[in-house]
Symmetry: C2
Subunit: 467 residues, 2 copies
């Protein structure tokens, strides 16, 4: 790969070429403007040299060509809601924002597909699709601001992956631009297709290191008519974890199966007294079932019965829409609440097979005690995907060694339990130094060669994924 010259300002010739490529008002070079694109959900700060806001794929190609000629790195970026620094310009260079590439090109109900540009906000697409009785399943908790392009880059799912599978299952094809600005179409408009290697799937989850998505063909699902939310309070985490494995071992999966640990529950009680759960609860499961209006109550009862078999303190179906909403708002309030308590918290999203959840939960408690690092866990239990929050400041020299030790032990535990270091956040900057613990050298070697094959100059989102 080419070495990147670490200069702090854009060369005037390159700036003019970028201006020519995207036009005035679509290139930000002022310090304050660049600062707005220097942050993401990690709290890290990396100020780019410039921010390009193309509105057409030709403009995207122009930016890529200019940077390719100049040997300047390009960091594709959606809404900046990522959790691993994937959209940060760690080596300077140009941020390529997809925010203005935000057209819903077409919605085709009969073909159950939508064609969109990468800057479309997840929730905006959801609203438009609902008019046709359809939806695109991926539902990260940042859905109201995150973009489809970001969802594809990180393969970021959300609670409903337990029923619908992950983002990569809902993409039929894409048009992408390579580092030199050339175009590549992968996949297509059909729900089956086996002509050649599946480059669509290779590109999804590649975190903007292989290509820039300029259009995606998304597969759609029918919007369920109705939903019901259930909560089940347990005496301890292990009992709740066993209930999760039990629920997942047979029958139709719920459309969400979330859990909150004792620390998360305490936090919610402090944050919002209205969070209804059993006073003795030390673990909470939050589940959702969906279906047609006349069957959803029966489905909720079936799930309730299955939860009751694991002897919770209570298992209750939310009485109405307001009660459902309040349960989900509480769940979604957790992450911001944690950020208030520990702004630099370490937020991992490990995954283990669901039958290993009880071991994970017990192990996390041990690690918290032994390293004196408070850990709050919650997340997508139905997929074994747990958001493990270390409530510390890794930037504080007094805390850093403890945090490093705790994180080390969390990852060791997860890998022992046949798990993975990330279920939906990605690797980015934050986990790149850990992935060789999960991936064999032979796998990393092949992946690096794939990176070189797509991006020989190493200009697309450098410093990400690989150690």
């Amino acid at each position: 790969m080419l070495p990147l010259t670490p200069v702090s300002e854009l060369d005037p010739g390159v700036r003019d070429a970028l201006l020519a490529a995207v036009g005035a008002n679509r290139l930000l070079t002022g310090a304050a403007q660049r600062e707005a694109y220097a942050w993401d959900n990690t709290g890290r700060r990396c100020v780019p040299w410039a921010v390009a806001l193309p509105e057409t794929r030709e403009q995207v190609a122009g930016v890529l060509r200019v940077c390719h000629r100049a040997g300047i790195s390009v960091v594709p970026r959606g809404a900046g809601t990522g959790c691993v620094g994937g959209g940060l310009a760690v080596q300077g260079g140009v941020i390529l924002s997809t925010q203005r590439l935000n057209r819903i090109v077409s919605i085709r109900p009969g073909d159950r597909l939508a064609v969109v540009e990468p800057g479309v906000v997840n929730a905006t697409l959801r609203e438009q699709l609902a008019l046709h009785g359809l939806f695109w399943p991926p539902d990260p908790s940042s859905a109201r601001s995150c973009t489809i392009g970001g969802n594809l880059a990180m393969c970021s799912a959300g609670p409903n992956a337990v029923r619908y599978g992950v983002t990569r299952h809902w993409v039929l094809g894409m048009t992408v631009l390579l580092a030199d600005g050339s175009s590549l179409r992968v996949g297509g408009y059909t729900t089956k297709g086996v002509v050649g290697y599946d480059l669509t799937q290779l590109l999804i989850g590649s975190e903007g290191t292989l290509a820039v998505v300029v259009e995606a063909i998304l597969k759609l699902a029918p919007l369920p008519e109705a939903r019901r939310t259930l909560r089940a309070s347990f005496r301890d985490m292990e009992q709740a974890a066993r209930a999760v494995a039990g629920v997942m071992s047979r029958g139709e999966p719920p459309s969400a199966l979330e859990f909150l640990d004792p620390a998360a529950l305490r936090l919610l009680q402090e944050h919002d007294g209205s969070m209804v759960c059993h006073p003795e609860a030390r673990a909470l499961l939050l589940a959702e079932v969906e279906g047609e209006s006349d069957e959803v109550d029966r489905k909720a009862q079936v799930l309730q019965q299955r939860l009751l078999a694991f002897e919770p303190l209570e298992a209750v179906v939310a009485a109405n829409e307001a009660e459902s909403k309040s349960l989900w708002s509480a769940r979604y309030a957790l992450s911001p609440a944690l950020t208030r308590i520990a702004p630099r918290r370490v937020n991992e999203d490990v995954v283990v097979p669901v039958t290993r959840l009880a071991s994970l939960v017990a192990g996390l408690a041990r690690i918290a005690t032994e390293t004196a690092v408070p850990i709050v866990s919650f997340g997508h239990a139905g997929n074994g995907n747990i958001h493990v929050n270390l409530l510390t400041d890794p930037g504080d020299p007094a805390q850093a060694p403890r945090v490093a030790r705790a994180l080390d032990r969390v990852f060791e535990l997860v890998l022992q339990l046949e798990g993975t270091l990330s279920g939906e956040h990605g690797v980015g900057l934050m986990k790149r130094d850990y992935i060789d613990r999960e991936l064999e050298p032979s796998s990393l070697k092949i992946q690096k060669k794939i990176k070189e094959l797509f991006d020989p100059s190493g200009l697309l989102n450098p410093g990400k994924i690989f150690p």
Copy 2:
């Protein structure tokens, strides 16, 4: 890539090394034995130099190492049920049969996964999983003989893809061996995972050209309690095609939505008088719904009503299991019946978006008339995946030019309609000269580089996929 020496017999030194790698009784070198592995569903004949039948992954590695050193090609092969010559040793070399690598390593209901070796027969796995109330969705019509390894290599699905998606959605991870015999683990045991590029998805559908699968971790679905079959007879194909698009445009998809054209119906009448359908039917839809016992009848009625909106001659729910079975046996009798009529028939499996089905069907009729090549079509209408059978003998010099012209026009039509040349059969030998009509040069270039990256000597299943 290394040139392959086209000798007709295995060098004695290599034969001894292969014997040492797999042991006696696991290497077939006799002419009659090799003949048994010279054929697949295409009717083409390619006699390998030897057939290895390893029983352990160490033996697979041994075969690969010997062939790698000797510069001999290796063709991985499951049950030989493929439709595109993917398992044929077109350049001689060694057939690596996975038939004896047929252990179901574990079934883990709580984790909804099964670990299997590649030679496990699809239907055998289905039987074992049913004991746990689970199943692995991919259901090619060859399920009773085809292997999981073959299903993964070709990403071959079947009727239920309309509800469950395709094979690649149901694989969590694999252990594969590269051309030099070295091992590579990809993916894992979890239903979410975004650490590094998704090599699992890259390998699925790569037709044995990148690596040899020795173990797969399969994601499982709950086995539906009950199923109902419906048939709807239509006056013409276009009307049936519109009904398909209508059914797919909203609501839960059926678990199968097949169609049969007039020629297929005539064939079945001749083959089996008991095939019940309306006497004036010129097109038949065969649908299946599934669910819990107490809801499946209602689901069948809902689908029936939706079909009736498209004014069929009739839309009937099968009265009982026997009637269901008879409908499905008729559907599955089609392919063998066609083989009897035209043993060298050209069997394509094109796909178009479902709203384009009516145009496809009308176009196929025009092509049949204008080229004087009889065409029989049937298949997975819910996915727009149609098996187009040209009832001719392309090996007959009198027919060959007409067949070539018809095929050319079929592919042109499919691509015009935003389709793909293959939905589940793969490219193999039969379509390699056509894929550059679907894939751009830039895509082919990258794919060839990926092939070189995994298999620099070009020894794994040479002569497949690429023109």
